[in-house]
């Protein structure tokens, strides 16, 4: 029966319906809705507990998305470009939570670029998704900083300025998980999301997510047609949760195995590209080549688990700061007397 599969419980006994959000109010066919569905699928399939998730966003069409998945998770629709800062505070206050941030190209690439890079630099453990459509939708069709040179929009005309590549920005800020994907490729999106959720620090997913209203004409490098025609995967991979054994058989040299922070694995099958996603310089080079040739490469660009997360750096213990019992927070009367005596 069709409903039977919907009712199937995951490892923590929840059904997929338990991960649902509100009905979307975005335009029909918006790439962002496809990504919200994949977030639901990834969290459901991984058995992420919704009550342990915070979902945050800035402002813009993308930033409406957290309302469309996981109503049982805490949401915070913050300020334009400032989700990174709020996430940094929230995930320091309670580092046991799983953080999912949804941002857009205007939100991250323009107004929030500074805060974004500093969050990456601090390595806040969270999945940071950029739903990248190259255009400001909610204010009706201005170019964003990720629009490619020569792109045309109905009202904004032709873009002459070079794009900001947010994967490149993340790499430069020493991000340990950088991937690019396409909303029209749900299988790749969901696999990347699972791997990102298993990462030790900030995982940046730049997902080209077409705006069907303002930037989906065939010449647009952020359109469905462009994406489907030009999607150039640099790798295919399988996500293997840490509880499961690796069952896939593969030829020596054909597949690269990468262990993620939580013990899960990804099995990377190299395609035509010889890209090694554990080589940061190679990732930067690959992005540079893609920029020059205007290639739409997708896949896992870079993964590195070595850098400690912000919570590790701050030496946060088992009890989150937010839940610390008050008796551990107020030093003794004697300690105050001692300080005051020293000021005499």
């Amino acid at each position: 029966m069709g409903t039977a599969s919907l009712q199937k419980a995951n490892v923590i006994g929840l059904q997929k319906i338990d991960y649902k959000g509100n009905d979307s109010t975005l335009c029909a066919g918006c790439g962002h809705d496809s990504i919200a569905s994949q977030i639901i699928t990834a969290c459901y399939e991984m058995g992420v507990k919704p009550e342990h998730v915070i979902k945050l966003s800035g402002i813009g069409c993308s930033s409406k998305s957290p309302a469309y998945f996981m109503n049982r998770a805490w949401g915070f629709n913050t300020l334009h470009g400032r989700m990174a800062a709020v996430a940094t505070g929230a995930l320091t206050a309670n580092h046991k939570l799983t953080g999912i941030g949804v941002s857009g190209d205007g939100d991250t690439g323009s107004i929030g670029l500074g805060n974004f890079k500093h969050m990456v630099r601090r390595n806040v453990r969270m999945v940071y998704i950029i739903e990248n459509n190259g255009v400001y939708g909610l204010t009706k069709g201005q170019f964003s900083a990720t629009a490619d040179v020569g792109q045309e929009l109905k009202h904004a005309g032709k873009n002459e300025l070079p794009p900001i590549d947010l994967c490149m920005e993340a790499l430069i800020a020493e991000c340990g998980f950088v991937a690019r994907s396409f909303a029209g490729d749900p299988k790749q999106v969901v696999t990347l999301l699972k791997a990102a959720l298993s990462h030790r620090g900030t995982a940046v997913l730049d997902i080209i997510s077409p705006c069907v209203t303002f930037n989906n004409h065939d010449d647009s490098t952020k359109s469905y047609v462009w994406g489907k025609t030009n999607d150039d995967r640099i790798n295919d991979f399988t996500y293997v949760p840490h509880q499961e054994e690796i069952m896939v058989e593969y030829e020596e040299g054909e597949v690269k195995e990468v262990t993620l922070h939580d013990g899960s694995h990804i099995l990377l099958k190299k395609l035509d590209s010889k890209h090694d996603p554990t080589d940061r310089a190679a990732a930067i080079e690959l992005l540079e080549e893609a920029r020059e040739k205007q290639l739409f490469i997708t896949g896992l660009l870079y993964v590195d688990n070595r850098r400690p997360s912000l919570a590790e750096h701050l030496r946060l213990g088992d009890t989150p700061l937010a839940l610390m019992p008050f008796e551990r927070l107020r030093p003794s009367r004697e300690s105050l007397d001692k300080i005051l005596d020293s000021m005499k």
Binding site: W74, T88, T92, L321, A322, L323, L329, R330
Partner: protein
């Protein structure tokens, strides 16, 4: 042509005056970055240790090294420690300002100067003491880099002899400064002793100023407001602080960084029970605080006016999403760069209404270091109880200068988390509506992310929402929301500390003031009383204003509002608060970058009252 004279001619007459004990101001003129702060605070603390009421104020430029800087010390046996407009004792070490320093000495005072300063010295109304600063410094320190630092101890030693400060008190002040480290204390004391001896052997004292031990500082401490505020926050259970460097607020974060590892490392785990982050800007600092407060931390930031500007949007978000946050604004002179090392109470109106759309915020107004500590811990309880940003408006004078104080009182009530629902509560209640006014006080119940119940979560947003925290642009939802926030603000009015009122029988004149203006107001009242003008005094300790203040205004024919800004900002709020008495309120505001003086306040009031001399 400027020549150096050895003045001595008129000083016999000067020497015959009766002594002036424990009542003088010292003004030390140096270059900033020359290490004179150690010398100045050593003098200050030595006087404090002698039991003499004292204050010290650093009047410094926005610069790292080489620009003129002045330090003023006031010792007063009657306990008046506000800044005085001029000083009887001037110590000139900086040739660049020597002319104006010389002219600034009050009649009857003395001018102590580095003897290589070439200057026409022709005043017969003051005493002159040249000191061989360079010579003594060179003898003591071979390293030219350190010589500048050592030079400052020369004037400490000479002043100690002239004023009669016990060298043991200088030594214990140095021990305080160097946190008990013997080596720097000894090397500095060596210079102090030599300069002291040189002065004894070479100077003839012709001025009347002396110190004598008192017991007026027994049991008191001396501390700056930023350290006091940081300690308050720590005893208030701060768990998260984010900040960005800015004068004059930086030392508050510095004090957190200093004391938190000592006081809040968990003895069982050895791990911190706090996190402190230096943000990339003030915008991110408050963003982090809002995120942390929403997630359940006791979160704070500290900044000054320009940082407050950057925090405007987040303050608005926190106000409407109803997230607790504690924000210290250590005020300085605006605008953005402005005069960053000069004091002002210029952020009152801006902070009170900070945001966009209708917003107003509870603001503490500490008037002394003890209140910096007390409001430092209370602010967290209030922010969590009201679920809103709470401001503490300090200023550069209070925050960065050293103040005498009664020891702080340990918090007298347990920490309060306010209305937070647990998973068990939710089981019992079967759900909740985040922004519903269940108790009639305008304050809803919140949950913390991670609470283990399927109905625990809610969606926080600054945009329109109904009482279930769902997106809504329905007019009635917004009106209801604003009406509830209004009821919540009335709770703030009840909960904030009441003003301190000193009513004087038959006084027709009232003074209303706040913050670091307090010592100057107290002294001005004494000056006015001497001139036959009785005044009552109300010191505001918080916004919003409440009935005590209305009653005070109603009971006086005129109320002077004394504050340190150009637009008479508190006066504007008072007129909004008590429009029926608007004409009784008279502006007595002043803003020149320096702490207020009693002379200015009493002159302003006497002029207005038609009793000017």
């Amino acid at each position: 042509m400027i020549t150096s004279l050895q003045p001595s001619v008129h000083e016999d007459a000067l020497a015959s005056r009766p002594p002036v004990i424990n009542d003088f101001s010292i003004r030390v003129a140096t270059k900033n970055g020359s290490g004179s702060q150690t010398a100045n605070t050593t003098l200050l603390r030595a006087l404090f240790k002698m039991g003499i009421p004292v204050s010290g104020k650093n009047l410094f430029p926005s610069n790292i090294q080489g620009m003129p800087t002045w330090y003023t010390i006031r010792a007063n046996k009657d306990g008046f420690i506000a800044r005085r407009p001029s000083a009887e004792i001037v110590v000139a070490i900086n040739p660049a300002t020597a002319i104006e320093d010389y002219q600034s000495v009050e009649t009857g005072g003395f001018f102590m100067y580095a003897d290589d300063i070439k200057l026409q010295m022709n005043r017969s109304d003051i005493s002159h003491y040249p000191i061989p600063v360079k010579k003594l410094a060179t003898e003591n320190e071979k390293d030219p880099k350190l010589r500048t630092y050592v030079a400052n101890m020369v004037y400490v030693g000479a002043l100690a002899w002239l004023l009669g400060i016990d060298l043991a008190d200088i030594e214990s002040a140095l021990l305080f400064h160097f946190k008990g480290k013997r080596k720097p204390v000894d090397s500095n004391m060596k210079v102090v002793r030599q300069a002291h001896q040189w002065a004894a052997e070479n100077l003839i004292k012709t001025d009347p100023f002396r110190v004598e031990k008192m017991n007026a500082t027994d049991g008191l401490i001396m501390i700056d407001g930023n350290t006091a505020g940081a300690l308050g926050a720590i005893y208030g259970g701060v768990t998260f602080a984010a900040w960005y460097p800015i004068t004059p607020a930086t030392s508050l974060a510095d004090a957190l960084n200093h004391f938190l590892p000592r006081l809040r490392t968990d003895p069982e785990t050895g791990l911190p029970t706090y996190a402190i982050l230096q943000a990339e800007d003030e915008l991110a600092a408050l963003g982090m605080v809002v995120g942390a407060g929403w997630a359940g931390a006791r979160a704070m930031t500290s900044t000054s006016g320009p940082g407050i500007s950057l925090m405007t949007e987040f303050t608005g978000l926190a106000y409407f999403a109803e997230v607790p946050a504690v924000i210290w604004d250590v005020q300085r002179m605006g605008p953005s760069t402005g005069m960053p090392t000069r004091v002002s109470q210029g952020d009152v109106l801006k902070v009170y209404f900070l945001g966009h759309g209708d917003a107003k915020h509870p603001c503490y107004l500490p008037g002394n270091v003890k209140e910096c500590f007390e409001f430092g811990w209370r602010a967290f309880d209030l922010a969590e109880y009201l679920q809103t940003p709470v401001f503490v408006l300090s200023d550069l004078d209070l925050g960065m200068n050293q103040w005498m104080s009664e020891p702080f009182e340990y918090p007298d009530q347990p920490m309060q988390r306010g209305k937070v629902l647990t998973a068990d509560d939710l089981k019992r209640l079967g759900g909740f509506a985040r922004y519903r006014d269940v108790d009639g006080d305008g304050i809803g119940y919140r949950t913390l992310p991670g609470t283990d119940h399927p109905l625990a979560a809610y969606f926080a947003r600054g945009t329109g929402h109904n009482e279930r925290a769902q997106l809504s642009e329905r007019p009635e939802d917004w009106e209801n929301n604003m009406a509830r926030l209004g009821r919540k603000f009335e709770m703030a009015r009840k909960l904030m500390p009441k003003p301190i009122v000193q009513r004087v029988d038959d006084a027709e004149i009232g003074i209303i003031s706040y913050g670091s203006a307090d010592p100057a107001v107290e002294e001005a009242r004494a000056l006015l009383a001497q001139a036959g003008i009785k005044t009552s005094y109300l010191r505001l300790r918080a916004l919003p204003l409440e009935q005590t203040t209305t009653d005070f205004i109603a009971a006086h024919r005129r109320c002077y509002v004394v504050e340190l800004n150009t637009d008479a900002q508190m006066l504007q709020l008072l007129r909004l608060h008590a429009p029926e008495f608007a004409t009784r309120l008279v502006a007595a505001n002043h803003s020149d970058g320096l702490p207020l003086t009693a002379d200015w306040i009493s002159a302003a009031i006497r002029t207005s009252e038609g009793t000017a001399i």
